[in-house]
């Protein structure tokens, strides 16, 4: 009752300002008394379109602003290109300047009103009071928008966690998991004694180290089982003859996620943790990482990788979806989750190929290629097949003769993958298509035509064929092919420009007023396509820069890393773009998980009105980052 009275006793205008603030982060998490303090000390100022609000030429920043109505844009002069760039936009409910206010310095960016704009602001004294008394406010000021991103991620986690009941995070450094003082022995110790030592200590593995405590091998209970079952030697064999040599090692600052990925990829259950001098510090087992989880990645990967029937593979697909839930719950970010999905998809594809080779070996070595999102290692649960075959024509055979043998095999594999949930490609970009089952020479010709005689149709395919990866068979033929393709693209400025022009067509879904631009398709009005409108602008623009600058990896986030390293992207820009891209991906994946839970068909459409204000704001900001990336494309290629 007391607080209700207090609320009523506040003057109407103070209450109104508090109501306004409450709708926006970080104020939405702040106490009423702090909001009242803000409102009572606030000023309202008006700026007409184009008025300067803050300038680097002004003195030290003394006020902290919130946009009440209208917009503020940040301008910075790009000396290299001699033009003014809009570096950010601040809309209703958002605050500025953070860094300059905390750093007690002038702003480095010109803040200008964009349209008629009202701002609320408080002076330094009120700012300091709130900063010291309100934790959400302090957190926001110190970490800026990234603290909001954390809120989003935390919510994704807590949603997924509801079904998991665990709180371990995959970002936890490995040393926290690692068993200290692991059981070790020298290479000449007989197996019997080594096993006795494992038994005494109740562990499942022993690490074999040299005199410098550098791990040289690992011996596990599984190895013991194989040794006895296959009768490879007596129990007094020196352990170095039966150990697994060169065990997988990770530095102690690597995180649990990296360990889990490495284990899933190689089907290992144990990893050595080493220091900077490669000396052994500890051992991490799969059970250490996933002791609290019901679904485990390594086991799932292993089960897929050793399944003996197609129907087992089909049934395991539901576990993959459960695992995605678990991963989100354990704090994996969207980049991590798409990699996990891709890894498990790779294992599935490999197993389908292996099972088919066992049944009906076409007798010709080949490399199984994958294109598009799987090529980029960016698959989500909604995925279709984009694959092809690369072969070396054996002596005495023609290419058509090879195809005669490979195509029926590929058709079977495509069909079986479809049963596993990889939808058949509507555009027939599949290995069973004779045009995509080619020898190294034919592929090379194919790319020459693709690059030198680029037609609009070709350009549509660029998003598929220029993101390519080998997932089965020898990788050398593909590496050789890629080298040639990349070299050709680097030399062909016209092709680059056409690619850039094509990427530029993919406009992020924002109107010039910074509202969402909806699809105009029938049946999907008032919705956004997160893949085509949200992610594609990043993927396409980054691909152009990557190909033009000899970046070999196909993964969009990794391409951005490489481009930053090469100085093509400003590291801060690259970081902002990576964050924006990951967030769109995260929102898309969360939508998929929700559709799956409701038993709906998976789509990439969302209605922004279904999102909470924070997600909406972040989505909008992410799209704006895509616009900035496209601006760079525009300037670089003079589109």
């Amino acid at each position: 009752m007391a607080s209700a009275n207090q609320e009523n006793d506040r003057p109407q205008n103070i209450r109104a300002i508090m109501t306004f603030l409450r709708e926006h982060a970080p104020f939405s998490s702040m106490d009423d008394s702090h909001l009242a303090h803000f409102a009572e000390n606030a000023s309202i100022q008006f700026y007409a379109d184009g008025d300067v609000v803050l300038s680097p030429d002004h003195d030290v920043v003394k006020r902290f602003y919130v946009v009440k109505q209208g917009r503020i844009r940040g301008e910075r002069h790009n000396d290299k290109e001699d033009r003014t760039e809009t570096t950010f936009e601040i809309s209703q409910g958002e605050c500025f300047p953070l860094a300059a206010m905390i750093g007690e310095r002038p702003t480095r960016t010109l803040h200008r009103a964009s349209g008629d704009t009202f701002c609320l602001s408080i002076g330094q004294a009120a700012f300091v009071t709130l900063f010291s008394e309100s934790e959400p406010f302090r957190d926001f000021c110190l970490r800026g928008v990234s603290s909001l991103l954390d809120q989003v991620n935390r919510r994704i986690q807590s949603n997924a966690m509801a079904s998991m009941g665990s709180s371990t995070s995959l970002d936890t450094p490995l040393e926290r998991y690692a068993l200290r003082n692991p059981i070790v022995c020298s290479p000449d110790l007989p197996v019997r004694k080594a096993v006795a030592r494992m038994h005494e200590n109740n562990v499942g593995s022993i690490i074999i180290t040299d005199e410098n405590r550098i791990p040289t091998g690992i011996f596990t209970l599984r190895d013991l089982r194989t040794m006895i079952a296959e009768g490879t030697g007596p129990l007094d064999t020196p352990i170095q003859q039966v150990m697994t040599k060169d065990p997988c090692c990770l530095p102690s600052h690597a995180d649990a996620f990296e360990a889990a990925m490495l284990m899933a990829e190689h089907h290992f259950a144990h990893l050595c943790v080493i220091d900077d001098d490669h000396k052994l510090i500890g051992v991490v087992s799969e059970r250490d990482l996933f002791s609290l989880q019901r679904v485990d990645l390594v086991n799932l990967a292993r089960t897929i990788g050793t399944a003996t029937h197609l129907r087992t593979l089909v049934s395991l697909r539901t576990d993959v979806s459960r695992l995605v839930d678990a991963m989100l719950a354990h704090g994996a970010d969207s980049g991590q989750v798409v990699k996990i999905i891709t890894t498990l998809n790779d294992v599935t594809v490999r197993r389908v190929l292996e099972l088919n080779i066992k049944k009906n070996d076409p007798g010709i070595p080949f490399t199984w290629l994958t294109f598009g999102s799987e090529g980029r290692q960016e698959q989500t649960l909604l995925t279709d097949q984009d694959n092809g075959i690369l072969f070396e024509t054996p002596e005495g055979m023609t290419e058509d003769q090879v195809r005669e043998k490979l195509l029926p095999f590929a058709r079977k594999v495509n069909d079986e993958l479809a049963e596993c949930g990889f939808t058949l490609c509507k555009g027939n970009i599949m290995a069973s298509n004779p045009k995509l089952c080619l020898s190294d020479r034919e592929w090379d010709d194919w790319f020459i035509r693709f690059i030198d005689a680029s037609t609009p149709q070709n350009l549509v395919y660029s998003s598929i064929f220029l993101d390519m990866r080998a997932i089965y068979g020898p990788t050398e033929p593909l590496d050789a092919l890629l080298d040639k393709v990349l070299a050709r693209i680097r030399k062909n400025a016209l092709f680059q420009k056409m690619l850039a022009g094509n990427a530029f067509q993919r406009k992020p879904p924002l109107t010039m007023f910074r509202n969402f631009r909806y699809l105009s398709e029938e049946g999907n009005k008032h919705s956004l396509d997160l893949k085509r409108q949200g992610l594609a602008p990043f993927v396409e623009a980054v691909r152009v820069f990557a190909l033009a600058n000899g970046v070999e990896t196909a993964n969009t986030l990794e391409r951005m890393d490489e481009l930053a390293k090469k100085g093509i992207f400003d590291p801060k820009d690259a970081n902002a773009w990576q964050e924006a891209y990951s967030l769109i991906q995260a929102i898309r994946m969360r939508a998929h998980q929700e559709m799956l839970a409701k038993g709906e068909e998976l789509t990439n459409y969302i209605d922004p009105d279904d999102l909470n204000p924070l997600d909406r704001r972040i989505l909008r900001e992410s799209f704006r980052q895509a616009q900035r990336l496209q601006q760079k494309l525009e300037v670089t290629y003079q589109l």
């Binding site: 003057p11 205008n13 109104a16 306004f20 409102a39 008006f46 007409a48």
Partner: protein
């Protein structure tokens, strides 16, 4: 200032605020060479029991101050008067101030003295100011015998003076507020209407600056010129 108002409401609701120097009330200022960038303006709105200044009475006063072209929320006035004897049946649905609020309102003489001190003789702006001026002057005279004339300016004139030929669809506060996309938190609440009027004033002051109007007198003259133009068109 705001702390003081809050203290009244919390501890002395309706009670007397104490010592007013009634013999030494501030003198109204005349519009001279004061710079708009540092003078103080009062933006005021009254709620009344009706539209007829001869028989209706003031029941609530809301006002904000603009200093140097900025609204300072710590410098505002928001009071309901204690006038339980008034008949509010005709207007209660508009301003939402019921008999109970009027019983618990602030003691009238004290509130008016405080208002005069708070306004400090600064020029008063209001939307359709003739209405507010008539009511306020009548009330000040009746309750305190105070008759000094403040400088009044009408924001309903100020807007078309600086934004001529603007298609607002009407001359009301709502028309201009809608045109500039302002959100009025609670229409027909004195303080809330005063804030909306003050926000429009900020827009006009911004335009005045770009047109080279620098002083209070300049603003006042511009307003009168606009008035005369309007009158000429009328006849």
């Amino acid at each position: 200032m705001l702390e003081q108002i809050k203290q009244w409401i919390e501890h002395r609701r309706g009670g007397k605020i104490g010592s007013h120097d009634t013999g030494n009330l501030p003198n109204p200022k005349t519009p001279g060479e004061q710079l708009l960038t540092d003078c103080r303006l009062i933006v005021l709105d009254l709620e009344t029991t009706g539209l007829n200044a001869a028989k209706d009475e003031v029941i609530a006063i809301g006002a904000v101050a603009i200093r140097g072209g900025i609204i300072h929320l710590g410098d505002q006035f928001d009071l309901i008067l204690r006038r339980p004897e008034l008949d509010i049946r005709e207007t209660v649905l508009i301003h939402g101030i019921g008999p109970e609020a009027l019983t618990q309102g602030h003691e009238i003489e004290d509130a008016l003295l405080y208002l005069l001190e708070w306004m400090n003789g600064d020029p008063i702006l209001a939307y359709h100011s003739a209405f507010d001026q008539k009511f306020l002057e009548k009330t000040l005279k009746a309750q305190l015998g105070y008759t000094q004339p403040h400088t009044w300016m009408d924001v309903a004139d100020l807007m078309p003076a600086f934004f001529p030929n603007t298609k607002t669809g009407g001359k009301g506060l709502d028309n201009w507020a809608d045109y500039f996309g302002l959100e009025v938190s609670e229409r027909h609440h004195a303080a809330s209407d005063a804030l909306a009027t003050a926000e429009l004033t900020l827009i006009a002051l911004n335009k005045a600056r770009t047109e080279g109007v620098k002083t209070l007198k300049g603003l006042y003259d511009k307003l009168h010129y606009h008035r005369r133009l309007q009158n000429m068109h009328r006849y």
